[in-house]
Symmetry: C2
């Protein structure tokens, strides 16, 4: 049986503070979880007790958008745009939430990314 | 009409890295949101589109537990214990998720806390 996890990808090039990162990660986490509930309720439920999460980083907007475009046909995921009240330009893409989904399906796309 | 927000409180004394903080914040955010859906579905729904979140800090386990104990009778909230695979001792309390709930109900408990 597969193990499930959720991956949260943060734009490291924006140099957000840790509170800002925590908020963007939480947006991504809830957004992708709710999308998963709609499309793969069984995955969301199997994952919920342990809530395994991994937080990864990319270094550009191109990288995060390309990743989102390649993943979105196969897995529940959500791209986060910040309202931009603090620290960064309004409408900036800050984070990507992926899954929960079977680990190996996520790793196929994220294996080259480093931990934040 | 009230505005709704979610507050995420992080234990700053644990000196967790930003990826670790992001993961703990996400646990707290999803946990408190799901609890809110069970008890105050209208709050959760009103909050969902904007997902206003504020990330705060405390400096001890006593402070976070005391806060949780005082809030839990009135508002949906969840205390997060880390599985402790990385960085910190297994079972450590790392974060507290509160709400979504009407802003003023949350502020009553958290007004003295600083942003992370």
């Amino acid at each position: 049986m597969s193990e499930f996890k959720q991956a949260i990808v943060i734009r490291n090039d924006l140099k957000m503070g840790k509170g800002k990162i925590a908020a963007q990660a939480s947006h991504a986490s809830i957004g992708a979880y709710v999308k998963c509930l709609e499309k793969h309720k069984d995955w969301a439920e199997d994952w919920f007790d342990m809530q395994k999460k991994v937080v990864l980083k990319v270094d550009s907007v191109t990288e995060i958008v390309t990743l989102f475009e390649s993943i979105k046909k196969e897995l529940p995921c959500v791209l986060i745009k910040d309202a931009g009240r603090t620290q960064i330009e309004p409408g900036s893409i800050t984070a990507l939430g992926i899954g929960p989904a079977p680990e190996e399906k996520i790793d196929k796309y994220t294996h080259s990314l480093k931990l934040l």
